[in-house]
């Protein structure tokens, strides 16, 4: 019984990390490139362009981090917290936002 629940727990932890990586990582990447596009000291279109180009690298690093950190919980916090910070900063910088 214990062996079974261990296996089940392991499967859930893996599944949770897969979602954290795919969905959480994508949200983190999106927030990060919006913020980058807003603070990069280039004309608007170029800043958006380079930030978007870098997005895939950011996504890859995020996913690698999700699968290398100690627990699935840490993986989720590591995705959600920066996403919130970046999104808030971006909202503040956007015209019509907090600034």
């Amino acid at each position: 019984m214990i062996a079974f629940s261990d296996a089940a727990r392991y499967r859930w932890a893996v599944f949770s990390r897969v979602i954290a990586a795919a969905v959480g990582g994508y949200a983190l990447t999106s927030a990060a490139i919006v913020l980058l596009a807003l603070i990069w000291p280039l004309p608007r279109a170029q800043a958006v362009g380079v930030a978007t180009l870098l997005g895939f690298a950011i996504y890859a690093i995020a996913v690698i981090w999700v699968f290398s950190t100690r627990s699935a919980w840490r993986a989720w916090i590591g995705m959600v917290a920066p996403t919130a910070v970046f999104a808030l900063a971006a909202w503040w910088l956007l015209p019509g936002g907090g600034a």
């Binding site: 392991y10 170029q46 180009l53 997005g55 890859a60 690698i64 956007l94």
Partner: protein, 557 residues
């Protein structure tokens, strides 16, 4: 998940690689073929003439004829272009005198209707159009590597994008896992089962590692709207069409109003002479005529691409069409745009000359080998684990392993058979049947499905060997089929020096040799293993329960 950074990266590498391996194999096979898309196009349209070189044509007369024709078919258009006879990169090959135009946009439209016409350089009459057979050609094969087939366009793009992102992950985690990347590159232990497969996977992966990284990352850059829209849609969120607003601004598209063109009174040939004095003879490929409101009508003289990587943005020299004076060209692209353009140009490899093109092709084949050896390595590892376990009773894992092995055979050995079937269908399908081009593709996928069924019904080792032999035969016989069905076979193409067409047939023979080699090697190896199997009891059962000695019996049959 495993403890330790490197271990967890190895875990990630294994599973990411397995999940997308087969799709990526398809992408690499069709994408590698795409480096010769124009050559495949020509082979699949044997009605078109052999490659020709145009003799020197009197330039003034030729330009006058082209302008005559433009005035006739596109009076008052917004752009006239005249391409001089030259060696073009897209489609690759000698291209004769060609005119193209864009009419003024209709009210509410941004672009006008476009037209294109090949002309006889001596008479200025539209070149005689030959109606080739209906075929998807090399272009269709090439488009499959980012659209797949039978999927709506956006679904295909997203599926390939997800797999590409996982490929990027597999590459990065593979490098992290691989601690002794340099030392292992010079290590190959042959005939040692799993160890050999690992070494093979390492060698092919590291050999073209920069290419794999470049091709994967640049592949993602093609579709920012589909893959990474966040920055674009947020920053341009207040415009009615965010993507269009972004691209207009990024590519600095002017919204200047175009005026209808009239034939310039000055000699265009003098502008070409001027440009050639600076660039060298034979460097001018085309002329573009435009007239913007508030400016003098202008002529852009386009330079040959040379070895410049960013080939879509050729060097130009601009002239005032009324005074003949040289005027300033558009400012060069900004850094962000150049970066994007170079990434895309590196991916497409259209700038590459024939030798670099072969290097691209070889790197693509190494990519297939990397994915193929990785997939096989997964099964070899798993099978070993199963053999260690007692009994070998049927289990979920065993069924999974069997599925992976069948998919491996159907993809690694079977997909090439399917590609060969696409070429066979091009020569064998009746010319007049409806939807002929579609049936060529259906033939490819039906063959692929058949190989999958075949592999799932046969003992694994026999299926590997038989499908590999089938691939060898299918490619080896293509030049023969070509000889029997067309007059564009090796006897003609080599004699004529048309190496694009001859190269296709010769490449098929080369691929046949490759599959022969693979089939022979497997056959020998398994025969010798089976021979010694009687002595080692530990090896009695293989994954799907067959004994090594009955494999031998089957192979020997």
């Amino acid at each position: 998940m495993k403890d330790g950074f490197r271990q967890s990266m190895a875990w990630l590498h294994t599973w990411v690689g397995l999940v997308v391996g087969w799709v990526l194999f398809f992408v690499f096979v069709t994408g590698t073929a795409g480096y010769f898309d124009d050559e495949i196009d020509r082979w699949m349209r044997p009605e078109l003439p052999l490659a020709e070189r145009l003799d020197d044509v009197e330039r003034d007369a030729m330009l006058a004829l082209a302008l005559d024709r433009l005035e006739q078919v596109a009076p008052g258009a917004g752009r006239w272009s005249i391409e001089l006879p030259h060696y073009a990169l897209q489609p690759r090959g000698m291209q004769g005198l060609t005119i193209s135009w864009e009419e003024l946009p209709e009210r509410g439209q941004r672009q006008g209707r476009r037209g294109r016409e090949a002309l006889d350089a001596y008479t200025g009459e539209p070149a005689e159009a030959i109606e080739p057979r209906a075929t998807g050609g090399g272009q269709l094969l090439y488009r499959m590597h980012y659209l797949l087939h039978y999927f709506p366009r956006n679904v295909g793009i997203l599926l390939v994008g997800a797999c590409t992102m996982l490929m990027l992950l597999a590459i990065v985690t593979g490098v992290i896992t691989h601690a002794k990347i340099f030392k292992d590159f010079f290590t190959f232990r042959s005939g040692k089962g799993q160890r050999s497969w690992l070494d093979a996977h390492n060698v092919v992966s590291v050999m073209a590692l920069p290419f794999f990284l470049m091709i994967t990352y640049s592949g993602l850059v093609f579709f920012p709207i589909q893959y990474m829209p966040a920055a674009i849609t947020t920053v341009y969120g207040d415009s009615p069409q965010p993507t269009r607003a972004f691209f207009d601004e990024f590519f600095e598209r002017s919204d200047e109003v175009r005026l209808p063109l009239a034939r310039p009174e000055l000699s265009l040939a003098r502008m070409i002479d001027h440009a050639e004095a600076e660039w060298g003879a034979g460097q001018v490929t085309a002329l573009d005529l435009r007239h913007f409101e508030g400016q003098a009508p202008q002529v852009d003289v386009r330079r040959a691409h040379g070895t410049q990587i960013d080939f879509r943005d050729p060097e130009t020299m601009r002239f005032d069409a009324t005074s003949g004076e040289r005027i300033a060209s558009d400012a060069p692209m900004h850094g962000a745009g150049k970066t994007r353009n170079v990434l895309i140009a590196l991916h497409e490899g259209l700038f590459a000359d024939i030798w670099l093109r072969w290097l691209y092709f070889a790197a693509g084949l190494l990519g297939c080998a990397m994915i193929g050896t990785g997939l096989v390595l997964w099964t070899v590892k798993r099978r070993k684990r199963h053999q260690k376990r007692d009994g070998g009773a049927p289990s979920f894992d065993a069924a999974g392993l069997r599925l992976v092995e069948v998919l491996n055979i159907a993809t690694i050995a079977g997909l090439p058979v399917a590609v060969a079937a696409y070429f066979w269908a091009n020569r064998l399908l009746p010319l007049e049947i409806a939807d002929r081009a579609q049936w060529e593709v259906h033939s490819m996928f039906l063959t692929w499905g058949w190989v999958f069924l075949y592999a799932s019904l046969r003992p694994l080792r026999r299926a590997w060997i038989e499908v590999l032999w089938l691939a060898a035969a299918a490619f080896a016989l293509l030049p023969l089929l070509n000889l029997l069905t067309t007059d564009r076979h090796l006897g003609v193409t080599v004699a004529h020096g048309d190496w694009a067409l001859a190269g296709f047939d010769l490449t098929m023979l080369g691929l046949a040799a490759l599959f022969c080699y693979m089939a022979r090697t497997l056959q020998r190896k398994w025969r010798s293993e089976a021979g010694s199997a009687g002595e080692t009891e530990a090896r009695a059962a293989s994954a799907d329960g067959e004994t090594w000695s009955n494999v031998e019996a089957e192979v020997a049959q």
